[in-house]
Symmetry: C2
Subunit: 176 residues, 2 copies
């Protein structure tokens, strides 16, 4: 079985409007979500109410809270629609069940997790080694279309600075 076949078999189509949440930090959510169309943001909310954006989710991406689906804890982050979005919800237990029965699917799962880990590793690298300015210019090169789709507020919280800070960075980059 391939991933697509699994999605056909066990997936539930979910339609969400702009600003609607898929799940919230602290929820007990046991599903992964495959994004067909639209745009999502995954973000942490800190005790003092500050928001930090973990990642933007583009069509074709799959997302879910590993700590919730696998470690049986609560969701460590929230997931919200930035655009009207069409998602396919797949209960994680179903995935594990099918993987246990179907070696081919298990291979796809391994492949998926390897890709996922490499993505995490890349983000970790950028946060550890690059300045906010470098992260911005890198994003400018790698996914310029994202800059059109998200507000500067969200972009700033993704890069790890305040919106005011990002405005300054943009100026500095332009003048350079």
């Amino acid at each position: 079985m391939t991933f697509n076949e699994l999605i056909q078999l066990e997936g539930l189509v979910v339609e969400k409007a702009k600003t609607e949440p898929v799940f919230r930090q602290g929820d007990n959510n046991q599903s992964l979500y495959f994004l067909q169309s639209g745009l999502l943001k995954a973000y942490y909310t800190c005790v003092d109410g500050k928001e930090f954006i973990k990642s933007f989710v583009m069509p074709g991406d799959t997302i879910g809270s590993l700590t919730s689906v696998h470690a049986k804890e609560r969701c460590s982050f929230s997931l919200m629609c930035l655009e009207p979005s069409s998602l396919i919800e797949i209960p994680f237990v179903k995935i594990r069940e099918h993987c246990a029965k179907d070696p081919e699917l298990a291979q796809h799962m391994i492949e998926f997790l390897l890709q996922f880990s490499m993505k995490k590793e890349k983000r970790e690298f950028q946060l550890l080694c690059l300045s906010a300015k470098d992260r911005y210019t890198l994003l400018l090169e790698e996914s310029p279309q994202l800059l059109q789709q998200v507000t500067q507020n969200d972009l700033a919280r993704y890069l790890g600075v305040t919106p005011v800070g990002l405005s300054r960075i943009k100026n500095r980059v332009l003048k350079a």
Copy 2:
């Protein structure tokens, strides 16, 4: 087959002295390493020569460059011994081969990758949401023994500040 059985079957024991590299950033290394005893640091070296520590590797941990073993690129980071270390080297192709043949092992691999991803996610959270001071106090709570084992220079590069910066943070935490 379990992971331990795979290690018995395909593993090569490697002994390294303090300061010896396991592999270097830019290398083409195709193995994972299981640490039996000792201590390693995984670190990035930037163009300007600055060093950033990705993670410390403790006995029982497994490490390797995903981009090198899986994506057929070069190692994105270096791996070096901070203490005399005993490692078991396992070629990644062997792991993939056995996983393809052995569904039980594939399940263990999925489990391993899920754990690995959660670890990455935790680090990502700390780098994105916490200040250097908060990361330090958290480390103080969660793995105080690490502070005894690594130099303050390495600790600083792990937390994302300079050694001088960490010295200041320690002072501030003490006085608080």
